[in-house]
């Protein structure tokens, strides 16, 4: 049986652990054995985004120590995968041994939908949902990793689900980490537009693959449009299982 190491982002660990559980459940479903290293904490994005490179380096080295021996690492977060793939080698560029380990690891880490579709060649996760869904193209997933078709293939394989177009699907939702708190007026305007596009799409559910976007869009909907839901694709696929065995 294939073994895959799961990297659970700090946002998921602290606020959205059910996404981690859904990820593990899906991997088991497709016959892969997920392992979870207790030593993992955070990829270091908050530090590098705030300019604290020395601290980010320490986080990167810790991450490489934890995950360095794994054959494959999978994560339900595109921004974290981008951090590891593209920022770690640059961050550690002055220490050749660490840089090499980072470059090596960058080949073995994947975002979840990318892993399922491109590596495992699986699209049907046995889910069914009788309704319309729309998909938000998160910035790091789309522009950072070039991942767009993979989540849509997973959605289209869901029995009964209809993927409807979302206006400005690839427009940024306004999260940007600290940006949402530091420039709330601009962020609010951006997330309001995103929510508006969701509402006018006619979709019953909005799906995405990025925990940050989920907190932002979900948080805005909770305050302003309580009936409208947004879900992480992993949670959606794990929850709406055909067999009626709803994973919580």
């Amino acid at each position: 049986m294939d073994v895959v190491s799961v990297f659970i982002p700090c946002t998921v660990d602290l606020f959205l652990p059910h996404i981690g559980e859904a990820t593990v459940s899906l991997l088991r479903r497709v016959g892969v054995k997920p392992i979870y290293h207790m030593g993992q904490t955070c990829c270091g994005q908050p530090a590098i985004n705030a300019g604290y490179r020395e601290q980010a380096k320490k986080a990167a080295k810790h991450f490489i120590q934890v995950f360095g021996d794994d054959e494959e690492v999978v994560s339900p977060s595109g921004s974290c995968v981008c951090m590891v793939k593209y920022h770690y080698p640059e961050l550690l560029s002055e220490e050749p041994q660490w840089r090499n380990r980072a470059e090596e690891l960058s080949l073995r880490i994947h975002e979840l939908s990318q892993y399922l579709v491109d590596i495992l060649k699986v699209e049907d996760l046995g889910a069914s949902f009788g309704g319309k869904v729309a998909y938000h193209e998160s910035c790091h997933i789309l522009r950072g990793l070039g991942v767009s078709e993979q989540p849509k293939k997973l959605i289209r394989a869901v029995k009964g689900a209809q993927l409807v177009p979302l206006n400005a699907a690839d427009a940024c939702c306004g999260f940007g980490g600290e940006f949402a708190n530091r420039y709330p007026d601009i962020s609010e305007s951006m997330v309001r537009d995103k929510a508006g596009d969701y509402l006018s799409s006619g979709a019953d559910l909005l799906l995405l693959c990025e925990p940050g976007c989920l907190l932002n869009i979900g948080g805005f909907l909770s305050r302003n449009h309580p009936g409208k839901k947004v879900m992480h694709l992993a949670s959606f696929l794990a929850h709406y299982q055909e067999t009626g065995n709803n994973g919580q």
Partner: protein, 488 residues
């Protein structure tokens, strides 16, 4: 031009109230035009990548290319002046005007002349300036800054232009027809061109190989500025130089497609020096003013110098989700949008421009659009890192003490998972104090910005770490009991 970069947040707030719906509707239109134009390349991605390589080479070889440009421009009969800073550049041009008894100049659109405050310097010394690009003409009459680096007056409603022209340029019949308004401006400016003795324009590309100045435009006013007066002044910043004419032409193809979705602008003009003795048209003297204004200092930073690749196409503004919300005024200076966010901090210093490299979600649209291959998000992170180190060369101010302490604590927790888990358990009751129905609606202090319009899930009572441990225990227990059952 007055620097208002430190008022970013207030101005952005004001601008958001205006709800620029035209920016959002326009963004889709502009995007389709750009993509359609780029699709006329056999391989659009390769064409963009090639442009990036040309600009990368130009910047890598900047010092030698500038010297080659000078040598060839001078042998074409042009004169050249190297201006160390804004003041030197504008005072030199004022002196040229006074020496020649110039009463007024006409100007083609040039961002660098706004950077050096040329119009103010000329007016102060009794030389009237007339902007001849229609958008620049409108904002000059209104006395407002540019809203967009390519379309400086795109936010001015037609009715306002009509009233302005009736007041200032003798428009007789009120009309909201943009063609008729353009015609009124044309008649007015024609008169200025008729008698102009000194024309000032910018430079899109300065070709090192041939000493050629290249300009692209849709209105023809730049050509007028260059060819009708006796004296042509072309003002350029250092980074405009490109190695060869072939390079320049490829960049022109990219510039026009990315800028306005045209395969080529209506006018493309190239100057190899002033009028030759056997030619009947052209200026008698062509003076090239090359402006440094801090760029050779920036050049020392091998990462930051990437910002100098910019060819001023403005496509990054059109694609930016933040610019689409707030428009150009909030950026507080000549250059707005993502290109202003990478350039202004270098020219004005990081301390004065803190918001410019932080008011971004790092969405990467700019980077994905840029024909010069600028990685804006990486540059923003570079500037933030320079802030943390208090870098003197980029005039950075160190970050606040509380923030530095926070990240030290964060680093300890991140590298020690037991401390991380303990920290979470410690912090959770304080954070979740105000939670209702599993959601937080208010956590005061540092996170006010988030909670104004958004909720947040309460911190989970059991983190993923906790749940994994529990699940392992349950599995172990059930494996044990299975083994026991089997025995029976």
């Amino acid at each position: 031009m007055e620097v208002k970069t430190e008022q970013f947040s207030e101005v952005a707030k004001e601008e958001l109230r205006k709800a620029y719906t035209f920016l959002k509707a326009g963004a889709t239109f502009v995007r389709i035009r750009r993509e359609t134009a780029l699709s006329t390349f056999p391989d659009a991605a390769a064409a963009q990548a090639y442009g990036a390589i040309i600009r990368a080479e130009a910047i890598a070889r900047l010092p030698e290319l500038l010297e080659e440009f000078e040598k060839n421009a001078l042998s074409n009969g042009a004169k050249m002046f190297w201006a160390r800073d804004a003041n030197e550049a504008s005072q030199y041009i004022v002196r040229l005007a006074k020496e020649r008894g110039i009463k007024y100049v006409t100007k083609g659109k040039s961002m660098v002349t706004e950077e050096i405050g040329l119009n103010e310097a000329l007016e102060k010394n009794g030389v009237k300036t007339w902007e001849t690009d229609l958008g620049e003409f409108i904002i000059q009459l209104l006395g407002v800054p540019p809203f967009h680096i390519v379309g400086p007056a795109m936010n001015i409603p037609v009715a306002k232009v009509r009233d302005l022209f009736m007041e200032k340029i003798d428009l007789k019949e009120p009309t909201s027809d943009p063609v008729q308004l353009g015609h009124a401006a044309r008649i007015f400016l024609r008169d200025k061109f008729h008698r102009v003795d000194m024309g000032i324009a910018g430079v899109n590309m300065a070709v090192a190989e041939t000493g050629t100045i290249v300009n692209v435009e849709n209105e023809g006013n730049i050509r007028f500025n260059k060819s009708s007066p006796r004296t042509q002044i072309s003002v350029m910043s250092l980074e405009k130089v490109v190695p060869t004419l072939e390079d320049a032409l490829h960049l022109v193809r990219l510039l026009c497609r990315n800028c306005t979705g045209q395969k080529l602008s209506v006018y493309v003009s190239m100057d190899n020096g002033p009028k030759k003795s056997d030619e009947i048209d052209g200026p008698e003297e062509l003076i090239i003013v090359i402006v440094d204004n801090g760029r050779s200092r920036i050049y020392q930073d091998t990462i930051a110098r990437e910002a100098m690749r910019c060819i001023r196409c403005g496509a990054c503004l059109n694609g930016c989700p933040v610019y689409r919300q707030i428009g150009g005024y909030a950026y507080g200076w000549v250059y707005s949008g993502p290109m202003g966010q990478v350039l202004n901090p270098l020219l004005l210093g990081l301390e004065k421009t803190q918001d410019l490299y932080r008011a971004t979600t790092l969405c990467g649209s700019c980077k994905s659009i840029c024909p010069a291959g600028i990685d804006h998000p990486s540059l923003f992170l570079h500037y933030r890192a320079k802030d943390v180190s208090g870098d003197a060369a980029l005039r950075a101010k160190k970050t606040p003490m509380m923030e530095r302490i926070f990240f030290r604590l964060w680093m300890w927790a991140v590298t020690r998972y037991r401390l991380w888990n303990w920290g979470v358990r410690f912090v959770r009751p304080f954070v979740n104090k105000e939670a209702h129905g599993g959601m937080l609606r208010e956590v005061g202090g540092l996170f006010k910005g988030w909670f104004r319009s958004r909720d947040l899930p309460a911190m989970a009572k059991k983190t993923f770490h906790d749940r994994w441990i529990e699940a392992q225990k349950t599995e172990f227990r059930s494996q044990k009991s299975e083994a026991t059952t089997e025995k029976i």
